[in-house]
Amino acid sequence: MSNSATINIPTMAELAARGEAPEILFWVGCAGSYDERYKSVTKAFVEILNKVGIRFAVLGEEETCTGDPARRAGNEFLFQMQAMANIQVLNGYGIKKIVTACPHCFNTIKNEYPDLGGEYEVLHHAEFLQQLIDAGKIKMTDGSTYQGQKITYHDSCYLGRANDIYEAPRSVLAALDAQLVEMKRCRTNGLCCGAGGAQMFKEAEPGKKEINAERADDVVASGADIVATACPFCMTMLQDGLRHNYEEKGIKVLDLAQLLNSRDKG
């Protein structure tokens, strides 16, 4: 963190006390708050927001799990308890627009909260970063951070098939000076990392192979030096899968925000 300027991370409580409203609420998500790897994604995204000068806020300790894993595991009660508590907080602050770096939070808040009285404009950070690039707010200097490197994008199921978002993450990557390569299974045919549907929180059922190992094979076959992800679970699964079978290849797993942010610094 070489930036000399102090990082600004306002909470909604602080803004509300001053009678201010943010342009966007950054929904951090549980992985973004607690998971060591994904905290660096949160930090990279917050650094970008600071640099670009977006008036944002976070909920801080007022944020709780959206309920996605509970709902997919079958626990509708717990999901709705979580959802309603979150909606009360969000509506209490009069939130209009939410950006999150987690496709599961994104899908739940965007598609499932409206049934329970929570209606917001919801963007995944891939879409938001694309908008910033398109608007020229993130300057693409001719840094050589990724020159000569091959990057492949792993489609998150909850962004891709679940919400038809295939191009936004790719156009963010296209803004880097790297070479974009596709895996054999991509876009609508993208192979799951193995974590969705609450699988993240339990061992897989008996089988021949772990799903993330199968996906790691795809990554290696693509010849990429870096896999770009846009989901905390995909990041964990791919990193584990690659480390387990292909440690020697040194393939890096990085989020879109991390790629953009370190390019800026590069």
Binding site: G74, Q80, M81, Q82, C157, A198, P206, I211
Partner: protein, 443 residues
Amino acid sequence: MTTYVAQVIFLLLLAVAGWLLARRIRFIKAAIGLGKPEQRTDHPAARWRNMLLVAFGQRKMFKKPIPALLHLFVYVGFLLINIEVLEIIIDGLAGTHRIFAPYLGHAYTWLLNFFELLAVLVMAACVIFLIRRNIIKVPRFHKPEMRHWPYLDANLILIFEILLVLAILNMNAADQLLQARGVAHYTPTGKLLFSSFFMPPLQGLSTPVLVAMERFFWWFHIAGILAFAVYVTYSKHLHIFMAFPNTWYADLQPKGKMSNMEVVTNEVKMMLGLQPTQEAAPPPEEIGRFGAKDVTDLSWKSLMDAFTCTECGRCTAECPANLTGKKLSPRKIMMDTRDRAEELARLQLTGNGTDDPHTLLDNFISREELHACTTCNACVEACPVLINPLRIILDLRRYLVMEESSAPAEWNAMFQNIETSFNPWKFAPTDRFKWADEMKSNN
């Protein structure tokens, strides 16, 4: 006199086929009707568009271009050759022969040649399909759920279609020879290109034998079509009809959205001391179940999905759980749902509905299968006729957790963590915002 007898036999044949079909359609409607009611007539424009593009236009088939092209031949052949069936039915009832020929003139020749071309393409496609299934052994046709009847069913249909097409071509070949010999009733049709190849072996036959052959193939073809129509309703091949309503009624929302359980919403609102949005719903007549244990707990659309499934296995071929050797196969979910719906509908029809030891869960679909799903929507995306196996899986999971509290231990721990720490791990809620402190102190 003989024509008169033939006409009566023809009429009887039609009537029997019609009666069998009507009975079977009533049964299938009853079986789909076992599902729970659900309103699915919103956004009619989008629904017609889906049906037109996906069912009529075969759009999703073209993700795999080679089978798509072969399937297109069979599909177009099926749709268009059946125009000829209209003539055959009129001929059969009126005792005429090729009644359209004099009216259409040259157009008739063109039309018949076009039908013959389609017939040859259908035959070629079916032969290649048989090779793919039985010699190349495309993996998705050889999963465990495809043993025995489903395997035989698929082959029978292909062989049946080849026989029907051969009957048309042989019939036309005999017909042309009889025309050339000037036999009465055999109206000139003009030269029919493809059936001409079938003429040489027939050339040496006497006229009465040729007439008998022509008649045999004519009867074989029409009786075959009627038998096929009835057979289809018992087979996985029902998609030729069901694809149309099924795409019309398909989901219009983003695939990631799970349906909301209103019953739960009302209870949660009461627990939280919030006003239910709707006025308190009248107490349900029966105590409903949370989630699904049997086909009666699923939406009728899930049951329509099951009757639409043609067991192509594109879903299973894309399923990450199945690809890595887990028991889950989305195709099996659909086959089990159909088998169970048929079983229950039969029991209810015979009045033995109360004496039924089976349920969809456990007797057909195991918990291990349900627990293996990553909800990645690959199966939903892969289906050429917009079937949603994921919804059934999730409805069954809801039953397991909410009625039986029987989730894997790790999931129970995750539930508990969310309840007590508001995150799926065991991290303290007070640590949620620590990342911000870390960032600030690094600066």
